[in-house]
Symmetry: C2
Subunit: 788 residues, 2 copies
């Protein structure tokens, strides 16, 4: 138990004069570290004091005692302390038990006194911080309640870390290691988290409990900024780096409350070809090795949950194929202690089948068959296994070839874990209750009679929620300059929706308060990550962003202008390291289109030109002027990679200005439109396609999902991120193409339909020389080397 | 920074008399919460005091100041505080820098003063607990050093949790939930861990850093007890429950220092048919849902590491098959910034090939080919992919069927994660350095020319170590009665070695001190888990157990006497719930054989008869007397499932007595014997086989591994746990059989050969109605339901 919010008790001499009382109050008013106060008027001189005057002297934001409750009588039962202590219900009940019957009666007799339930937590007002000292519980809880209700998170008192900039800029891991992170519990306190809301995972990571959502529900939100980009090269254009640089600027240099909300990287690319994803240079989340490896295990939990569903599907098909209805039923509803009982999950399935019975012995034979046989059509299974490893040999496999599976083989595949529907659920859910419901709705296959088969039908939805109970809590880390970061949900906006979580964004928006900023990241280019951010994530969250930051680089724009192919792991051709204004100007067409894409949603766009050391002044100026000409609210050069937040102050100022500009948010399409129309709108308005073509499998799915009642879900396109079109090598602004929709999947639990555009591998492969060749641990110092 | 060890500074008035000084010392001597003291003699009256008398008055275990250093002069530089603070080297260096040049000079001039390196940690003696107050660093470090060197972990002052026993015994999850665990950082302090040695994972789990091994290296070990069992029924006979019951008895009822070292359960069975593995009834590790789900992610880390190797093998074979030597080499050693460089891991491979070059441009064509081509024979790959899920359809699969893999398909399989060689490495390693070496030595396949191909050849060994850097730290949890538990490494003693980790055992043995006990668990029956414990684990650890506890149940013994088949999920036949002395007496043959098996190793055996509520007095008595007649040191009835530690006090006392009995430890076989001879010794002496039969594949491997130089590794048999023989349905003591060895694998990194006896699935399957049907989360209370 530790102090959560700092209030002060004015202890005045018994004979203090009115002037002395007013002076003390003024002092507290001016002390920014005190968030509230309790006034106990001097017992001996109270008759000489104008209580109204005293009441009015208290600054409104510090009035925890309430205007009507100032009197000495209420405070006669002992000394008051100066801390609020959040308690668990168990803790408080124990407190009462410990203090015996008398105390219990006393607490009962004083209505609302001693302890109360408020904002999702139990609060007590005690003499000191010790739980054991329950004997001094006071009726001042009412004050506490008012304080909590009225409390506005103000300006944080955050200790920022000074950067010691080196030139040339060292490797990411060297920079990350050179900064000692603040203990994460300290950062948590600095941003207004109560100690009971934080679960430490070592000294640099923590999970934040969802109870905070309730505690802060009445608070106004901060400003909401989404970072996206132009169509990138395969090297990436520094969107994460810009996100972190921007928050370092807003927090450490402009002295604003600010949170970054970023996604947990997949370990596949970390050991494959891309390296880490903590940002780069002097704009990073630290410690970057903790960020890039395991974190707090969220992705591992998704792997476990996803694959439990997969195992359940194949095992169920196997058991149904080898057993009679009667045998199946006897095993599903076994005799235990002389009786049969349905589990609650089985009752849910019965209800879905329209069977309103709860006694297993009363089912008719026909009902037994319907209940016990899911009758999955093996060719209809859309649920895939996943691994967070770049294992290309699992892209297409045949399973069930052991003799123990009696010949029930089947073609299947593994996807990268972050592409799992469970990852999408994690990102889009709003509460534990909501997650439980989504976990039940996930459709894994179709029965031979055309019914959707769900995770609830398999009986596995409760277990999935249990496996995900910790993953749902956002992870708190920090930037190099000591500002807070939430890391939650996963990347891959091409084959997933690739946005950070709604819960992290919502909690951060409350914590920063109305003058603060939350900068969240949408994966890859604005045509996919941002489009999904608006049409899917904002639709479910109800949040409306104030500003879009669009990251552009000279390198990528030159590529769009017709520069040679950029390949990861290969040296850059000279066009990219020498000034070439012609290529650049031509390539700005892609930026213009992506600005236009953001404007479809009615939100002001600030272009961040992420400068590389080979960029020339003329090149950087050209991009800025082209961006403004294309309708950007502003366009700013940044150098946060080399300079940290100091290099993104101009961007921060532009974002702050833009957040006050008028905006007129709208979605791109109406959910009630037919599936094909929604896909067509995205293809035409965002990608610039002439039309779409539904290939036969996709056409079949449009009909199936419409019939099954999933037609009104939003659309999550699976499309390459390397082109506005479906062909990765078409750079700039491709035109005159028809977008082929090969197939459609339904992620009913996450809440979207998932059209597959062309063929896209859903699990990456390892190159000839993967990153892991350079990664090692020094057993002496325990330092990780070679991560970048 | 928090207080690690509690010492007290006697602050006496300047004019205190000798009598007053002696009185104060006596007070401290009697205060069990103070572990040391610093005596500052009264400045004004020092000439009147007999320092020898004072010196002798200090109890030896509290003499931190050393006999010769009592004088006033040494302490004139300010007041002394009362705490030791462990610092990191960085922390201390910073401290010196902060206090400026003068301080630095001063510290240099006073030899050993201010801070010192001792027992693997940096220590400073400061005025208070704040790091920032470095100005008051004192020369009393010498005292601190003596204290640390002389300090013996004494009797812990541990607060045990009182059980509130209910009848009938509620479900495991209900019991677990009804006990509020102590904050884990408190338990860590209680058992002598310094706060900097502990990494919290939430409020009920923590990882312990390996630096403690060095700090406590000079301490004597406690008593070492291994828990094993008779051949079990498929339901398990309560070995984990007995382990926990026994430590609750020793710790909470017999007031001894005691640690349980248990294995992290696999999530496969948790959601499959077995349920959790935290013990049961009133003998559990809590919170049981945290124990059974994810824990701190160790098994997930193994899944990630194992599958990175698998992906690397197939990707490498693929790249080699589609590229020329030259192209391969150019990609493996790419031009970067105008030059080529080998990574350290590549230099290791060059050395292995006998190429002593470090400049990539100097390799001959022949050397380039040898370096760049691992030339793996696809049919020789022994490394399998793993998942911690009961997914039977992955037992045999065909991979590489996507067109992107150009027809390079291959048969492969998934094992359960705990069967990964990396799990065995985790259990058997002794340090980070040792783990790094083992990670390099793992053999994954054979080249076409017959050379073993290792993880180091693949370039992945460093990355594996990085992935496992946190998993190597043991996990601290607690029993229902508040005693400490290390959870580390994994189960499945049939298809793995199934023992808890050497590191956890070693750290626990130091922490409990010479009068304390460490109870570690070996999986399944004594024929497999215990045999591997002795012949593999004890060989690598160098530890020698004092006592074997052999768990027996009336139920399993009746089965061995010819009782009907026992099937998980089915009601027990009446033979098992009614008295049947005849079956029982017959079945005691299995117990007799397993006692004999333990005696092969020369360690006293205590039989723990784990009582069920259907067992009769006569039955329990019969088992005890049969056990003693078979040569057990003692045999004791226990009821810890229903009564917690109180139900295992008799067992605890028997174990304590046995730990003082003479023992004469010996291994079963000599490592230098030929492979087949070692297997034969285990088969004949432990299983009771007439002989072994090496099938052709096994014969081939004997020759291959002998040639490759792996012939002198210990043996880890993969054999069913349900019979002493290789046939699960042969109960009792099978005789007259020949043990078929189908194949042999080499786990060179873990350090054993792995003969496969008959056919055994290496990944379990899900039954028709898996446990997950009952598992769910209450979104309101966040409570997990249905785990057992």
């Amino acid at each position: 138990m530790q102090i959560g919010i700092n209030a002060t008790h004015l202890r005045l001499p018994k004979t203090a004069t009115e002037e002395e009382v007013l002076h003390s109050i003024t002092e507290v008013n001016e002390n920014s570290s005190v968030h509230g106060l309790i006034v106990q008027l001097p017992l001996d001189s109270i008759h000489k004091i104008d209580t109204e005057k005293v009441t009015n002297a208290v600054a409104p934001e510090k009035d925890v005692d309430g205007l009507t409750s100032i009197n000495a009588g209420k405070l006669s039962r002992g000394d008051l302390g100066d801390c609020f202590i959040p308690c668990t219900p168990n803790g408080c009940m124990e407190l009462i038990r410990q203090t015996g019957k008398h105390r219990k009666r006393h607490l009962k007799s004083v209505k609302g006194a001693g302890w109360l339930h408020h904002s999702g937590a139990w609060w007590c007002w005690t003499h000191d911080c010790g739980h054991a000292d329950g004997g001094k519980v006071h009726s001042e809880m009412l004050s506490a309640k008012r304080f909590l209700e009225g409390h506005q998170p103000g300006k944080w008192n955050i200790s920022c870390t000074k950067l010691n900039l080196q030139k040339p800029v060292p490797s990411d891991i060297v920079i990350s290691r050179s900064c000692v992170p603040k203990p994460i519990d300290r950062l948590a306190r600095e941003v207004g988290l109560l100690s009971d809301e934080v679960e430490l995972y070592g000294k640099t990571k923590a999970k934040v409990q969802l109870s905070i959502v309730k505690r802060l529900q009445a608070q106004p939100d901060g400003k909401y900024v989404v970072v996206t980009g132009i169509t990138p090269t395969p090297l990436g254009e520094g969107k994460s780096t810009t996100t972190i640089g921007l928050v370092q600027a807003l927090g450490a240099h402009m002295n604003l409350n600010v949170f970054a909300c970023v996604r947990q990287p997949s370990q596949g690319p970390t050991f494959g070809i891309k390296g880490g994803a903590a940002g780069g240079g002097y704009s990073q989340v630290i410690p970057m090795e903790e960020f890039n490896l395991h974190l707090t295990g969220d992705i591992h939990a998704i792997t476990a949950a996803n694959n439990l569903v997969a195992a359940a599907i194949d095992a169920r098909m196997f058991h149904e194929s080898t057993q009679s209805d009667k045998a199946l039923y006897n095993r599903l509803v076994p005799l235990s202690g002389g009786q049969r009982k349905f589990s609650p999950i089985q009752i849910n399935r019965l209800r879905k089948l329209g069977i309103e019975k709860t006694d297993p012995s009363t089912l008719t034979e026909e009902e037994i068959t319907r209940f016990a046989r899911l009758d999955i059509d093996p060719s209809s299974v859309t649920w895939q296994r996943v691994l967070d490893t770049n294992d290309r040999f699992l892209r297409k496999i045949t399973i069930g070839q052991s003799p123990t599976e009696k010949g029930y083989t089947r073609e299947a595949q593994f996807d990268i874990t972050v592409a799992s529907e469970i990852m999408a659920v994690l990102a889009l859910t709003s509460s534990l209750e909501d997650m439980r419901q989504r976990m039940a709705k996930m459709v894994v296959a179709t029965s031979r009679s055309g019914q959707p088969i769900t995770t609830e039908d398999l009986g596995v939805s409760g277990a999935l929620t249990v496996l995900m109970k910790d993953a749902i809590k956002p992870n708190l880390m920090q930037t190099l300059e000591g500002t807070p970061v939430f890391v939650h949900a996963g990347p891959f906006a091409n084959i997933a929706h690739g946005n950070s979580s709604i819960l992290a964004d919502k909690i951060a928006l409350k914590l920063v308060g109305p003058e603060g900023f939350v900068v969240t990241e949408a994966g890859f280019g604005a045509d996919i990550g941002m489009e999904k951010f608006f049409n899917i994530k904002c639709r479910y969250s109800g949040l409306r962003p104030h500003v879009v930051v669009l990251v552009a680089t000279v390198r990528a724009l030159k590529m769009h202008g017709g520069g040679p192919t950029v390949t990861a792991g290969m040296p850059l051709p000279k066009e990219y390291v020498e000034e070439n204004l012609e290529l650049l100007e031509k390539g700005c067409s892609n930026m213009r289109k992506q600005i236009e894409n953001a404007q479809h949603f009615g939100v002001p766009v600030v272009v961040a030109v992420n400068g590389f050391k080979t960029d020339t002044e003329a090149e950087l100026d050209l991009v800025c002027s082209m961006a403004k000409a294309a309708g950007a609210y502003d366009a700013v050069r940044c150098s946060h990679w080399a300079e940290g937040g100091a290099g993104a102050v101009a961007l921060g100022q532009a974002v702050q200005r833009a957040s006050g500009a008028p905006s007129n948010f709208k979605f791109l399409y109406d959910l009630e439109l037919p599936i094909a129309d929604k896909i067509r709108i995205i293809a035409q308005k965002i990608y610039g396609a002439d039309d779409i073509e539904l290939l036969p499998e996709a056409q079949h799915k449009v009909e199936l999902y419409t019939k099954q009642g999933f037609g009104n879900l939003p659309i999550c396109m699976a499309k390459t991120h390397l082109s506005l079109s479906h062909e990765a090598d078409k750079k700039g602004v491709p035109t005159g193409f028809v977008l082929p929709i090969r197939d459609i999947r339904a992620s009913v639990g996450a809440g979207f339909l998932f059209p597959l555009v062309g063929t896209m591998p859903t699990i990456p492969g390892l190159p000839t020389r993967p990153c892991f060749y350079d990664i090692d641990l020094d057993p002496e110092t325990e330092q990780v080397n070679g991560l970048f």
